[in-house]
Assembly symmetry: C2
């Protein structure tokens, strides 16, 4: 559909709003709106209200900046978590991804982005100073940088590393290597090279 | 992500609502919600309100049952439209599709679905009686059935055709044939067969 003639302004507004979402074109937006028109009034009202509440009532944890319904998030306020390790991530979704691995029991620090001069995001737009403050706490032993392996991610890693250099903490990054279940054939050269350099001891083999 | 631990109930609610939309899984829903969290409060509130308004304030045209912001829709109330032809469609989207062709100047009749016993939709759930009433109007000369070419569409066509049999109107359906720009190779046999049976005169050729 090139020329768009909507039979109703209300319909057009709703389609406009949906098509602002990432990955949603105007055709999908229309499909969603027509779907909502077939639903009960109560359900659609609840949907609308959930969005308004989401944006107006949600809080950010004052320690790690993850989103939270309370002042301090469930992770930071959980005494069973290991508060000597802080994992630095780009955003909330990464916290959820790492939590889902069930392999990590430390705390997080959500930067709220990564350094990207192209998008006008410098270190001051991110929660880097608050990370350095947290690193000054004597309890913190290790800071894990879990940022994306991109130019921006590497820049941010390096910036944080320099900021933390004088602090008595160990700074580590995620292991890079062949993905579990992947054939070597489909692994790119740089990853394969790194996985060779950073090879690990097989089980408990001790060699000769 | 198999195990889903959301850091916030508000976030979880919004993800749940988005993932009810057609074609949206939980991952895409989360992506949309995180996108909204990065937007201005005003924008997200406007989005939420547009949905609430949409479902609570939208009207259906009392003549053709297309959605409308007014009692009678823009098409039915437009004196420039040809009110002797009514095009019968399944839903609002089909009205928009046909309008976008800019090839039709008549009126519409939105059934609100097609007969589908599997989904519990019988003729009484659809706007068929109101169509028959409209057909009784002496001004109406032709009724075009523009329903999908499916079993359900054909059943609905036949049902409407029988209902209109006694009325002084011509009942037509959309031409079926090879799509414009399509190779014969990729046209299915039934369509190709129909396009042969319903062949049309080439330009102004008159033959011998």
């Amino acid at each position: 559909m090139n020329i768009e003639k909507y039979p109703s302004k209300l319909l057009e507004n709703a389609v406009n709003e949906f098509s602002k979402l990432p990955g949603i074109g105007r055709k999908s937006a229309l499909r969603m709106v027509l779907h909502l028109l077939r639903q009960e009034k109560e359900g659609v009202t609840a949907f609308g209200q959930s969005l308004i509440q989401l944006r107006n009532e949600i809080k950010h944890c004052k320690i790690c900046h993850n989103i939270s319904d309370t002042e301090t998030c469930q992770i930071c306020s959980n005494p069973a978590r290991n508060n000597s390790v802080i994992c630095v991530v780009e955003n909330i979704r990464d916290v959820m991804l790492i939590e889902n691995t069930q392999q990590y029991n430390g705390l997080y620090h959500v930067l709220g982005g990564i350094i990207s001069p192209m998008d006008g995001i410098g270190p001051n737009e991110l929660e880097i100073n608050s990370l350095v403050e947290r690193a000054e706490n004597t309890e913190v032993v290790e800071i894990i940088l879990a940022l994306p392996t991109t130019m921006e991610g590497d820049t941010t890693n390096f910036y944080i590393f320099r900021k933390l250099k004088q602090k008595p903490v160990r700074v580590t990054t995620l292991a890079r290597g062949v993905a579990v279940g992947d054939e070597l054939e489909y692994t790119d050269e740089i990853t394969l090279g790194r996985s060779l350099l950073n090879r690990v001891l097989y089980e408990n083999s001790v060699g000769k």
